[in-house]
């Protein structure tokens, strides 16, 4: 006990409090953003489809999120008797954990980052690969044919899109010379990377859509053919966690795109955090617009697009970026 007290006295308590507040803020912020996005998405989709969407619960329907949450929590949380219990329960937790962990490395403003890792980008890529396990295991453990097909598709899709998701970012990394997201933002003071790395941006956005299993690439769910894909057998809050994981993932990919290609917190007049959040909100809206506009790809189209178009494109981008950097250095 004395040793603990001594340790506590040694560390600066104000510093610790700030860190704890930051961690809790990012955690709660990300989770409530994910929850709120379910509502925002429905309203925005409705706006683009000439409807109103949920506007009855509370002012502008804002309390719809609360109503949905209450509904999910009071639903029967059923585990099918034929399922692999342990994996079935763990799978939805993985997706939430993996996406929330990635939020730790996202710099919200100068110095406002939970963990300023010098390999922040690699950490993100690793975490996004982990969420494949959630979907694949969720589909596998349910022991139902639709879930299994969804899980298989998810595994195939996410593994192949992972490849060039990493590659599409290498141009940014090469230009900056660092994997730290803070350094990458600082390197965009002169020009945002969306201009020199426009091919990287496009490929990363497409890969991000595929990684979050959003509509043109939502084959793992594909409610038209696979009932609900990998989460067919899930109900109650376990389903809710998959749902939340998807939306937190959308927020994550948008935030990361802002950091990597749109100058993160950089911008005139307004405080940095406002710039960051505003840009992220715009990108989230773009994600939702894509969902509202584009139809689902067929599986062979998906694979062809990934391996035959986007992978060579991002490879070429890496080669050209490297050549330009080399030429400028001479």
């Amino acid at each position: 006990m004395d040793a603990l007290n001594a340790l506590l006295r040694e560390v600066n308590s104000a510093e610790v409090l700030r860190e704890v507040a930051l961690v809790l803020g990012v955690l709660i912020g990300a989770l409530s953003l994910g929850g709120g996005l379910t509502f925002v998405e429905r309203r925005l989709l409705a706006l683009w489809q000439d409807r109103y969407g949920p506007n009855r619960v509370g002012p502008f329907g804002l309390l719809q999120v609360v109503a949905d949450t209450i509904k999910l929590f009071t639903k029967e949380d059923w585990t099918p008797p034929f399922a692999d219990r342990f994996v079935f329960v763990v799978a939805p937790a993985i997706v939430i954990a993996a996406t929330l962990m990635s939020f730790a490395v996202i710099p919200l403003a100068p110095g406002l980052v939970v963990a300023d890792l010098n390999v922040g980008l690699l950490f993100f890529l690793g975490m996004s690969s982990l969420s494949v396990y959630s979907v694949a295991l969720g589909g596998w453990s349910a022991n139902s044919k639709y879930a299994l097909l969804g899980g298989l598709r998810a595994a195939g899709q996410m593994v192949s899109y992972e490849v060039f998701m990493g590659l599409s970012l290498m141009g940014v990394v090469a230009t900056t010379g660092s994997f730290s997201l803070g350094d990458i933002v600082e390197a965009q003071r002169r020009v945002w990377f969306c201009i020199p790395q426009c091919i990287g941006l496009v490929t990363f956005l497409i890969a991000g859509l595929a990684e979050t299993r959003r509509i043109p690439f939502d084959l793992p769910e594909a409610e038209g053919e696979l009932v609900a894909g990998f989460h067919t057998e899930y109900s109650g809050m376990k389903f809710g966690m998959f749902f939340l994981g998807e939306y937190v993932g959308v927020a994550l990919v948008s935030a990361l795109t802002v950091v990597l290609f749109f100058g993160g917190w950089l911008g005139p007049v307004l405080p940095p955090i406002v710039w960051f959040l505003g840009k992220t909100a715009l990108l989230i809206a773009l994600f939702i617009l894509v969902r509202g506009a584009l139809p689902r790809l067929r599986y062979d189209q998906l694979m062809r697009l990934g391996w035959k178009v986007l992978l060579p494109l991002s490879l070429a981008n890496v080669v050209v970026t490297g050549a330009v950097i080399l030429a400028l250095r001479r």
């Binding site: 706006l47 683009w48 489809q49 000439d50 409807r51 109103y52 617009l289 894509v290 509202g292 506009a293 584009l294």
Partner: protein
């Protein structure tokens, strides 16, 4: 790729298009006058009940939701002693309205019949009977029909000839 971008663009501009949703309880679309909604029993232009309790509506009803009992008043006019429609069964097909020889039973443009208790969807004659003639303004069955009632004998109705003596040989 290009077509995908064009789709995105045109969907984005729908943000400024008119929304088609009718915010129902606040805004209501006008229903056509011949809409088949809540059933009423009308009165003739003189203010008397039109229904002559002929049971044709009950017979025509495919779901048997109409129940009535015929009786006769001191003037010889038939009328229903009770008239009961179970709106939780009614399918609003309008067959009763078509079957009615006196234009008594009519369907109205009112579709808001939801209720918390089924028993309150059973409408009695007092609930069904309205004050006016409904969609048919001038029709009065007893004024044109060759049926004798207290104030009008046979042959006294509009466009009706005096009754022929069937035992005579002359036309």
């Amino acid at each position: 790729m290009l077509s995908a971008l064009r789709t995105l663009w045109s969907v984005f501009w729908h943000a400024f298009a008119r929304r088609f949703t009718v915010q129902y309880p606040e805004q209501k679309r006008p229903l056509p006058p011949r809409f088949r909604g809540r059933i009423v029993l009308t009165r003739d232009p003189d203010g008397e009940e039109r229904c002559v309790a002929c049971y044709l509506c009950a017979a025509a009803c495919p779901v048997d939701c109409i129940a009535l009992q015929a009786t006769e008043d001191e003037h010889g006019r038939r009328y229903p002693e009770f008239f009961r429609i179970n709106f939780s069964r009614c399918i609003f097909c309008g067959f009763c309205e078509e079957a009615c020889p006196t234009c008594a039973i009519q369907l109205t443009p009112d579709c808001e019949l939801a209720d918390y208790r089924r028993s309150s969807l059973v409408y009695e004659k007092a609930d069904l009977l309205i004050g006016g003639p409904g969609k048919v303004h001038d029709y009065n069955f007893y004024r044109v029909a060759g049926v004798a009632i207290a104030e009008k004998d046979k042959g006294e109705a509009e466009n009706e000839l005096p009754p022929a003596n069937v035992r005579r040989l002359m036309p």
